[in-house]
Structure formats: C-alpha cells, structure tokens
Symmetry: C2
Subunit: 442 residues, 2 copies
C-alpha cells in the first residue's frame, strides 16, 4: 500500500543539519515514549489507537446509527479540541455541500462562539426538524459550550419533553467528575468518556471526534486503523527512517534559522479545517514562553490570488508545508471549445486535477525561487484511513517538535489569562478583586 | 449618527511617535490625492463612490431583481478580488445559514479553486434548479474562473439551450478588451464594467461586488452611501483628525518596532470573510520587496481555544486589530436554571452579547498584559451602511500605509511568478523554454 511521504528536498536543508538533530530527536523520542518529559500526564494519545475502549467504540457506532435514523439535525456543542477534529474530518471526507445534499442528518456546530446572532439563526434553521445533540466538554463549565448547551437543552425539553429530550442528548465528558458528568447522570444522557490523559487538541480519536464523525456516515474503524498503523510506523527512533520525526526536525531547523511563520497549504477547499485543527495543535503546543512558530494557513489556488503576493515577495521569515493529496476524489475533464476565446483549448482532454497539480508544482518552484522553503506531505488519497494516519503523523511530530523546541507541548497555561479576566468582568463570584482592577483599565 | 471609531489607546503608542508621522502621512495623502505616487494608474477607487456610473448602478439593481425572480441558484465565478468583497458582504450581512433559509437564490462560488471534486459537487447540488451565473474577470483568461466558466457555460447551454442560457449569464469584465468582453458580446450576455483604474482588491464598490451583493437582497444604495461618507471623512489631511490615517500610522509604527504580524480579530463568525478580504487588501498591497506586515486572522472567542495560547504567550512579534461591532444583530438572554450544575446562574438575565463583550474586554487586557498591542475598530453596528464605510476605511488606510512603508500599494508583480511556472508546466504554447527548465527541477 502506498504511504504518506514527507519530502523536504525543497526545504533548503543541508544533510548535516539533519545529522546534528539525530541525537536530540532520539532524546525527544525517549522522553515521549518513556514518559519522562514535561506534560507526561497527557500522553494517553500515543497508544490510544490500540488502548481505546472497544466496547465504547461499538457504543459510539450504535449511537451514531440511532442518531442517523431518528434525526434530521445533529448539533455538536464544543469548542477548540472539542470540535475542530470532527469538523476537519467531516469536511475533508464528506460532500462539499454536505448539509444541502446529505443522506444523514445535517450537521451544525454550536458553543464554539458567543454570538447570540449565530445561535438564534441556528434555532431558526432547525425549526420543525428532529434534532439530536452531542455536548462535548471535559468540565461542563467552559463558558461558550455551557451557554449554548443551556439554551439548547431548554429548547429540546420544550420541544420533546424531558423524557424524549434525554434520549436525544449525548454527553462526551470526564469519566467521573465535573458539571457535565453530574448533569448527564442526573438527566440520564448516554455518555462517552474523554480520557484524563488526552488533551483537547489530541482528542480526535477519542469519543470527542469519533461520535460526530460516525454520525456523518464516515468509517471510524478505518480511521482508527490509519492511526494504529501510524502509531507503529512513527515509533521508529531513527530520524532517517521516520518521516514524522523528519517533519519535527526540519521545522525546528527552519525556526532556528528565523523562519518564524509556517504556512499550511492545501489545494482542495475541503481540507481547510485540517489546517484549522493543525493551527490549534501546533499553536497551542508550541506557542509559549515567548517561543514557537506562528501557524498560518492558506487554501490554494484560491489564496494565491490574495496571499500569493506576500508569500512570493514579502518578508522572508516564513516557510510553507504543502498538504498534497495525490489522487483527487472526483475530477472533470476539460473539453474543447470551438471558439476558444478563453484560450484554454491547449488543455482539452486534460483534467482539472492535472491543472491543479501543475499549479502546485509551479507555485512550489516559484516560492522556492522567492526564498520560501517548501515542505511537502504527499498523501495518496483523502479517505478515512489516510486521514487517521495524517492526524497521528501531525500529533506525534508535534510532541517531538515541542520537546526539541524546549517547551511543554502538552499544556496551555496562556489560555487561562483571558478566561480569568472575562469571569471577573462578567461578575462571577470569587473574582471581585480582579474585577475592580480591570474595570479601571477599560 | 454614531461613527466608526479607531482606538489605539491599547496599542502602546507614544504620542510623539504619532507626531513624528504627521508630515510623512501628509505627504502620503498628497501623493494619493494628487496622483503623484507609485501605482497612480490605479486610484479610481478613491472617488468611485461619487464617480460611479449611475445608469449602470440601476442596471445592476434590475439584473439582481431578475435573477432573484427567475433563479433558485446564483453562481459567482471569480477569484481573489473578484469574489472576496462580495463574499465578505454577503456573509457579514445575511443570515448565518443563508443558503438553507434564503428567500432569494442560493449563492455559490466557483472558479475560486481548481478542485474537480468541488466543481463536480457543485454541479450535483444545483441539479434540477434554475440557475444564473455572474462571471467576473477583467481578462477572461485567469485560469481558475476560465476553467469553471467553460464547464458551467456548457452546462447552462445544455440545460437551457443557447438562447435562454445567454439570458442567465452576466459578465463583469473590461469595458472594451479581453477574452470575456469578446465572448460576452458574441454571445449577447448582459455586461458590467470593471474600470481600468481600479485593481481587483479595491473593486468591491464596482459591479464586481455590487451585482452579487444585490442578488443576495442587500441594499447596495446604503452600502455606497457608507463609502461616499467615508470618502469625505477620510479626506481630512490632519492625522490627528483622521482615524483612517491613524490606523495607517499606528500599524507602521508597530511594524518598525518589530511587530511583523497583524492579527485581525472579530467576535462574530459572520465577519470571517471581512478578514479574508482584508488579508488580500493588505497582503497584496504591502507584501513586496521583502517588506510588509504578515496579515493573519482569527475568529474569537472560537480561536481563543486554538490560537489563544500562542497569542497570549508565544513569540512577541505580533499585534492585534479588533473589529468590534457595538450592537449585535440578534441576541439571546441567558435564563436561570434550577439546578445550576453548569454554574452559569450568575449570568441569568444577561445576554449573550454582554458575555461576548466581556470576553472581548477580558481578552484585550490579557493580551495587552502579554505584550500584544491591541488596536480597536469600533463599528456601531453591522449593516450595509457601516459595511461600506468600513471597507472604504480599510482601502484608504491601505493606500496611505503602503506609501508610508515605501512600496507601490497598487501593484502585485509577485502574483505572476507562479502563473508563469504553471503555464509552462501545463504545456501552454509560448512557454516551451521555461517548461524544460522547470521539469528538470521537479
């Protein structure tokens, strides 16, 4: 079977630079696998593809089937790691206009912002439809999903009555503690577990991602197989044989050289949310202590007509990582046109994917000539299996890359700062002192 | 009437820094208004809100009404400046789930990528529906829209026959020359003009943006009024009285201080595409000659749970510009819950927008404490008028900012590099020599 291939031949990396990182990478590998590094309480994702709860996995499939049978609408209530993975999978693997053409329930996201306009519009669009909800939160008290769920729970109970509503609400949360766990048990929701040792941004293979992905009609078994194979493959400790570690090494080499922005590039609009997921993974894992590559993303060729000028000719502190899907899902052949006023007849008989690939190659060489190192991740095709593999590739590389950088890749202390301020300004009990200080500053 | 206000009090700017830029800003102002600076062939946007063709504007409204009457589906074929402005307006001003709930035609974009999968999915989703198309291209030979239009034109002619198809295709293009002009005249399409002196990224108030925006049922008259008022307001040459110039000045001050990434922030998901439009405007105008602020964007509070950690605590080479909409379109009041397991009862009676605003203020102070200068654009509300004003604000500031930076803000030479390579690799006649060179490098 073909495999994901990482190609850094256009990265302007010298071979000795890789050599010099062999031993630091080995060290990072050992820290990760022997759990001796910072954040070692959050390494549950490493072996999750073989250690996961098989009974729960079957329960996920059954719940997904029930939801597909009895719902026109499925709402995922979660923010950050509690929705980005599922969204990335559903967009990458489903129809481009899924909600307009789906044979399963329409899928909406809520609790991932605090916009009353958005939530009110959502309530409008689901009016008269049969609804199921998956609320995803480790604690149950994260402000965004908690507010949305409070509104949606009331909506469901009003619509269906308490008894039927509870059969349509699924909670993915902590196994024992927390507000959502308590609520779910009191109400009698079916629950799924967010493991203690898996952080949000690494949680896609847990029920956090698996239930919504299964509801979209995707094959979560194949996705897990991809992750499982990736786990074995990327366990190889020799940098020269492990492409996942090569990605970790190369991005650190480029960072140390002053390439402080990494731009994730794709050539298929459906991959947009893989980049959003990736931004969280790397931004939150490495962006700390004044360090870290700034993660950005573009959709090509779309954004060649917006960010293309900058990438070609702006400040030279960036590099690109291209997610290249080798075989497209569908294709269209360009036909001859009698008049040929658009001058495209030289492409007759060629497919759009052929053109897309030439846009990729042409851009690659142009940007390299413009002093932008380009890294390429060649993925044979975009299906559940390779999606699972790719996700694991990025996760493993992220852990290694973070250790190379000298940070704890598994915490996110900075995320608390705005929350504390927000609680104080909202008048939450216990924050009175901070509140007074902040109000003076606004 | 309330107005857009630019607040840089949280930007860590010293007053003398502003003073020192008074005369350079005045110089830039004169270059722009006297058309003595670089790119002075492309200043048609400056007075466009008063100079536009009023008859054509009426024709746009009529065409939009016809499309709304006879179409279930409206497809905008264009890339870069030929779709981003319209998309930004439609998303900011319409229902969050417009295509699922619209009383007008569903709106789709095509020709803004080279994905065969996307285009095939689009053809599937419009099957059996009545369709109109607006193809937008100055030349008619830009690869992405040209391919999509070739496919869609054949589809329309097969579906409707040549006679009816031509009544459903609207071309926005050059007034005299180019492939699309020739084609439109040969086929008898209704046409609208892209002026010679307005570049793509400055073209939203021309028919490029106005026709699609009107088809979405929005009030283009009000939008133009916003632009018209902005034109007068931001003509003021005194930096201390012109908030638009203050934005240009402050971002240059921050850039010179090493803040090389500007992150555009919003707190409403519907504003996402305003940031995408803004990224093209600033990235393409300033990202050249190895210079320019790297434009990035986040949707808060969504992305506080992905990019939040980096912004709070990563490399300190960035600043934020917050687009703050003072009054929300809709709102939801948080109700009391008997059990209060989620602990939100302290918010009972408060609205989601109240919480959203506190998230904004809390984040602002947290990021400022994390050494991220924050600039704020306060917009009273998001309607057609303020949208028009805001767009003009950004355009004017961009011209001034580019002159301050010392670039030609109105060209985009770097965009050609990948195109040349792509044509060569595609085997386009005339590129044989380059083709041979490139093939060896892949």
């Amino acid at each position: 079977m073909e495999n994901i291939k990482f190609d850094y031949s256009k990265g302007a990396i010298k071979q000795h630079e890789i050599q010099y990182l062999k031993s630091p990478i080995l060290k990072a590998h050992e820290m990760l696998h022997n759990k001796t590094g910072a954040g070692n309480d959050f390494l549950g994702w490493v072996d999750y593809p073989i250690c996961y709860d098989k009974d729960e996995f079957e329960r996920i499939k059954k719940a997904a089937q029930k939801i597909r049978n009895d719902s026109d609408v499925f709402i995922i209530v979660g923010i950050g790691g509690s929705y980005l993975g599922a969204r990335a999978a559903i967009e990458a693997l489903s129809h481009s206009f899924y909600n307009e053409i789906a044979d399963g329930p329409k899928i909406y996201f809520a609790g991932n912002n605090i916009s009353g306009t958005y939530l009110k519009h959502l309530l409008e669009v689901i009016e008269g439809k049969d609804v199921s909800i998956n609320v995803i939160s480790k604690s149950g008290t994260t402000t965004e999903p908690a507010i949305a769920f409070r509104v949606l729970k009331a909506y469901m109970e009003e619509k269906y009555g308490k008894e039927e509503a509870k059969k349509r609400i699924y909670a993915t949360t902590d196994s024992k503690k927390g507000a959502l766990r308590t609520l779910a048990e009191k109400e009698g929701y079916e629950t799924f577990v967010i493991p203690d040792d898996v952080g949000g941004r690494f949680s896609i293979f847990t029920p956090v991602g698996m239930l919504p992905i299964a509801v979209a009609g995707l094959d979560i078994e194949q996705m897990m197989n991809g992750a499982k194979d990736a786990r074995v493959e990327y366990m190889e400790e020799d940098l020269e044989k492990n492409m996942c570690y090569q990605y970790a090494a190369v991005r650190n080499i480029l960072y140390r050289r002053g390439k402080t922005i990494e731009v994730m590039v794709n050539y298929e609009p459906s991959l947009h949310y893989i980049a959003e997921w990736w931004k969280q993974l790397y931004g939150e894992s490495e962006g700390k202590d004044g360090k870290g590559i700034f993660p950005a993303a573009v959709d090509f060729s779309t954004d060649l007509h917006s960010m293309g000028q900058y990438l070609q000719d702006g400040r030279r502190d960036l590099f690109e990582t291209v997610l290249n899907i080798e075989s497209p899902k569908l294709d269209i052949t360009i036909k001859e046109d009698e008049d040929n006023l658009d001058g495209l007849n030289y492409l007759k008989g060629k497919t759009m994917d052929f053109v897309n690939k030439k846009a990729f190659e042409g851009t690659l060489l142009a940007h390299v000539d413009g002093s932008v190192p380009n890294l390429i991740l060649n993925v044979p095709k975009m299906n559940e299996y390779y999606f699972g593999k790719l996700i694991y590739f990025f996760e493993k590389a992220c852990g290694i890359s973070g250790y190379l950088l000298g940070v704890n890749p598994f915490d996110q202390p900075g995320v608390e700062s705005y929350k504390k301020n927000m609680f104080a300004l909202l008048g939450k009990p216990g924050y009175e002192e901070l509140r007074e200080k902040l109000i003076k500053r606004i």
